[in-house]
């Protein structure tokens, strides 16, 4: 992710190349948004406008799709985005406690990013590692069988 959280010309060029490489533009809005989010880290208005023009789809429709799907975000994530699984298995095994602990440690609510831009906090539904419940993710790394006491130490790895 070389363009993380920066709206740069080179990023737009990369996105345009991707769009041009598609066999057809018909029905590819979600595919393009996935790519755009991979490149930019999030989907700010400039990017939405760019996609709208390139695919010839009204901006309102682009936004309508972005807001429908929880995977897409219009705010920049932290350097180390944290997500806590709130799927059923994790819930019955106490993921709420993990979340509370994270909120306390980071001083932010779900959906927010810390002042220094280091961490952001989100919840998600089932990573598919229910056997390891409760599960949390930091960036791409998955932590399983987490207890509230461990949260502090896990965060230390990233400070």
């Amino acid at each position: 992710m070389k363009c993380t959280n920066q709206v740069k010309d080179s990023c737009f060029r990369e996105l345009k190349d991707f769009i041009d490489s598609l066999e057809t533009k018909k029905g590819e809005l979600i595919t393009v948004l996935h790519k755009a989010q991979e490149i930019f880290g999030y989907l700010p208005v400039e990017v939405q406008e760019f996609v709208s023009e390139e695919l010839n789809i009204p901006l309102s429709e682009v936004y309508g799709v972005i807001s429908f799907y929880s995977f897409f975000t219009t705010t920049p994530k932290g350097e180390h985005p944290i997500s806590v699984c709130m799927g059923t298995a994790c819930y019955v095994n106490g993921s709420e406690k993990i979340l509370d602990e994270l909120k306390r440690e980071l001083g932010i609510k779900v959906g927010e990013t810390t002042q220094d831009g280091k961490f952001s906090l989100d919840v998600l539904r089932c990573v598919g590692a229910c056997g390891m419940a409760p599960v949390m993710l930091i960036g791409k790394k998955t932590y399983g069988r987490v207890t509230a006491d461990e949260v502090k130490n896990i965060l230390k790895e990233y400070k």
Binding site: L33, H34, A89, R125, C130, G131, M132
Partner: protein
């Protein structure tokens, strides 16, 4: 390019010959294994094998064996001996195992797998390298496709699936052969085969496991379906949250294309078939087939009324066959072994097996596969090993957010599509969450409702507004502000939402409420009448007090985040209730059992 069955056999034999003389170490490297640290075990073996430069040892990364409770797991096979499986492997254990391997004397498995399991769908998961098509072929991948293309007519394939009695594993249990027949009969210049790999059910992960562990079984089945219904294009709609499954699917598709098992003129016939991926973007409702199709078209994933069914007008209005991952994973086995064999497993009306994601408060969490008709008791207490900490079993939720719960009275129910429905629950995708005496059923119902409220697409009013109101009533009850009247209201509103909603999400959303009301009415009553939460979960209804057992160690006062505890060393402590936020820290900290939670 493979052209004939002989080509397949040759690859199979060569692979088996090459590997049978070798020592094989297989490390389970699916998402759950990696989470538990399987990658470092893999690295360890890799370094050691490189170091001693022994080309008689092969290291293979596989998918999930389903033994989540003992991850990381590895399997070791010495030439001519039966494979041994080890669980909870850390580097130290790995070192010992490696020494044993070098002395060619490995100890017996430390993992017991219940004989009540029967693996069809998961037959290869964890036992082969999902990134090596030769390994898959050595386990008979693409033999069924060959058989179908060279020996069977379209009608014969459909009939075989119909005769097998296979029912869709995505939730509804609709007969698969019948579905294929509809798509076959609708004539069109273009048709699509779609694999539903959205797996939105929180607490289910069988589809992920199949895709990570045995992707070829799904690709092959999609091609067979394509042949049967007359389609040349397959699309897998997969959750973006499953990066490893996506990666392995991409590799598998590429390898199948390189061998000519996907593409033009497959096995020298004029059948052609290609498969591409489309990614979901985090919306539970997109698992519903009409919503899924809209999402594939790049739109908001809102469901539409059926009919028209996808088999008539699906992706871009063309006849489309949508099946679930697990459904597809059954197909090749049915073609290879015949519908009679398949019917001999399971129950009369639900033949075959079902994969369950067993999770929650059960000892052996993991993926299990059992013949339909196995009882809940066998699943939870035999295969699952019973309840963690030997606590009392309270309920098991099947069918995810759209399902219901079953209690100890129903433990001897033989599980299949119909019996679960009769008991007020459903099969759903096969999530099975076990709950013990410490779980509050009202809170669980609220949890599921919270999920549906979040995930409702908002298109129709009963679901959008009704479920929100249901949630609010449940919140009122767990906050200790509920009345008996609210319980009647819950029931009324639930029934209305079920009747009036447009799609399956709304139609089933109230199920957890109705089912817990039905089976745990006394627990609801305790909340509204006595303002008590018997399981001591609902924070507003519990109270922490310090009893005479207190020796005054001061531990609780130290951990209390709100300074609600007062007391001097060696004297009994006291909790100021007004300040207590009921975090439970003191309760967990006290080593003298002196704090009462009620």
């Amino acid at each position: 390019m493979l052209k004939t069955i002989e080509d397949l056999k040759q690859i199979k034999n060569k692979f088996l010959e090459k590997n049978n003389e070798k020592i094989q170490i297989k490390v389970s490297m699916a998402t759950c294994g990696i989470t538990a640290g399987a990658d470092s075990i893999y690295e360890y073996f890799k370094d050691e094998i490189d170091r001693i430069n022994n080309n008689k040892i092969v290291l293979i990364s596989t998918g999930c064996m389903g033994l989540c409770h003992s991850e990381p797991t590895i399997e070791v096979t010495l030439p001519g001996q039966k494979p041994e499986i080890y669980g909870n492997v850390d580097v130290k254990k790995a070192e010992n195992i490696f020494k044993d391997i070098l002395y060619k004397k490995v100890k017996e498995s430390d993992i017991i797998i219940s004989s009540k399991q029967k693996k069809i769908v998961l037959r290869n998961c964890g036992f082969m390298d999902p990134e090596n098509i030769d390994d898959a072929i050595s386990k008979d991948a693409y033999f069924a496709l060959n058989k179908v293309l060279t020996n069977m007519s379209q009608e014969e394939v459909i009939n075989e699936i119909k005769k097998s009695g296979l029912r869709g594993r995505g939730g509804g249990g609709f007969p698969t052969g019948l579905k294929w027949e509809f798509a076959y009969k609708n004539k069109a210049n273009k048709k699509y085969v779609v694999c539903n790999a959205d797996e939105g059910d929180p607490g289910a992960f069988m589809d992920r496991s199949v895709l990570e562990g045995d992707p070829h079984s799904v690709l092959e089945a999609m091609a067979i379906c394509g042949y049967a219904i007359g389609s040349d294009e397959g699309i897998i709609y997969i959750r973006a949250e499953y990066p490893l499954a996506i990666e392995r699917l991409k590799i598998a598709i590429k390898q199948a294309e390189d061998y000519g098992l996907l593409g033009e003129n497959i096995f020298g016939t004029n059948f052609k078939f290609k498969i591409t991926l489309k990614y979901g973007a985090g919306a539970f409702v997109c698992g519903e087939e009409t919503a899924l199709i809209h999402s594939m078209e790049g739109k908001r994933g809102e469901p539409t009324l059926k009919p028209p069914f996808p088999a008539e007008a699906g992706y871009w209005e063309k006849p489309t066959n949508v099946n679930n991952v697990e459904t597809y994973a059954n197909i090749t086995a049915i073609i290879n072994k015949g519908s009679d064999w398949f019917r001999s497993i399971g129950t009369e009306k639900s033949p075959g097996t079902k994969v369950f994601a067993l999770a929650g408060k059960v000892k052996n969490v993991g993926l299990i596969e059992v013949p339909m008709g196995t009882t809940l008791r066998d699943v939870i207490f035999d295969i699952g090993g019973g309840i963690v900490g030997n606590k009392a079993f309270k309920a098991v939720q099947t069918g995810g957010p759209s399902g219901g719960c079953l209690t100890k009275n129903e433990l001897d129910t033989p599980i299949d599509f119909d019996t679960l429905k009769e008991q007020g629950s459903m099969m759903g995708s096969g999530g099975m969450i076990v709950m013990d005496e410490n779980d509050c059923m009202v809170a669980v119902a609220k949890f599921y409702l919270g999920f549906t409220v979040d995930e409702s697409c908002g298109k129709c009013t009963p679901c959008r507004i009704g479920n929100k109101r249901l949630y609010e009533i449940l919140e009122k009850i767990t906050d200790g502000k509920g009345t008996l009247n609210d319980l009647d209201l819950l029931k009324d509103l639930s029934n209305t939402i079920k009747r009036a909603s447009l799609c399956g999400l709304g139609k089933t959303a109230p199920n957890p409420v109705l089912s817990t009301l039905d089976k745990f009415y006394d627990e609801y009553e305790a909340h509204v009448k006595d303002k008590k939460c018997p399981a001591t979960v609902c924070t507003n209804l519990i109270k922490f007090t310090i009893t005479d057992k207190c020796i005054g160690c001061t531990m609780c006062a130290k951990v209390c985040p709100t300074d609600a505890i007062l007391g001097r060393v060696k004297e009994k402590h006291y909790i100021y209730q007004e300040r207590c936020i009921k975090c439970g820290s003191c309760y967990n900290a006290c080593r003298f059992n002196a704090i009462k939670k009620a």
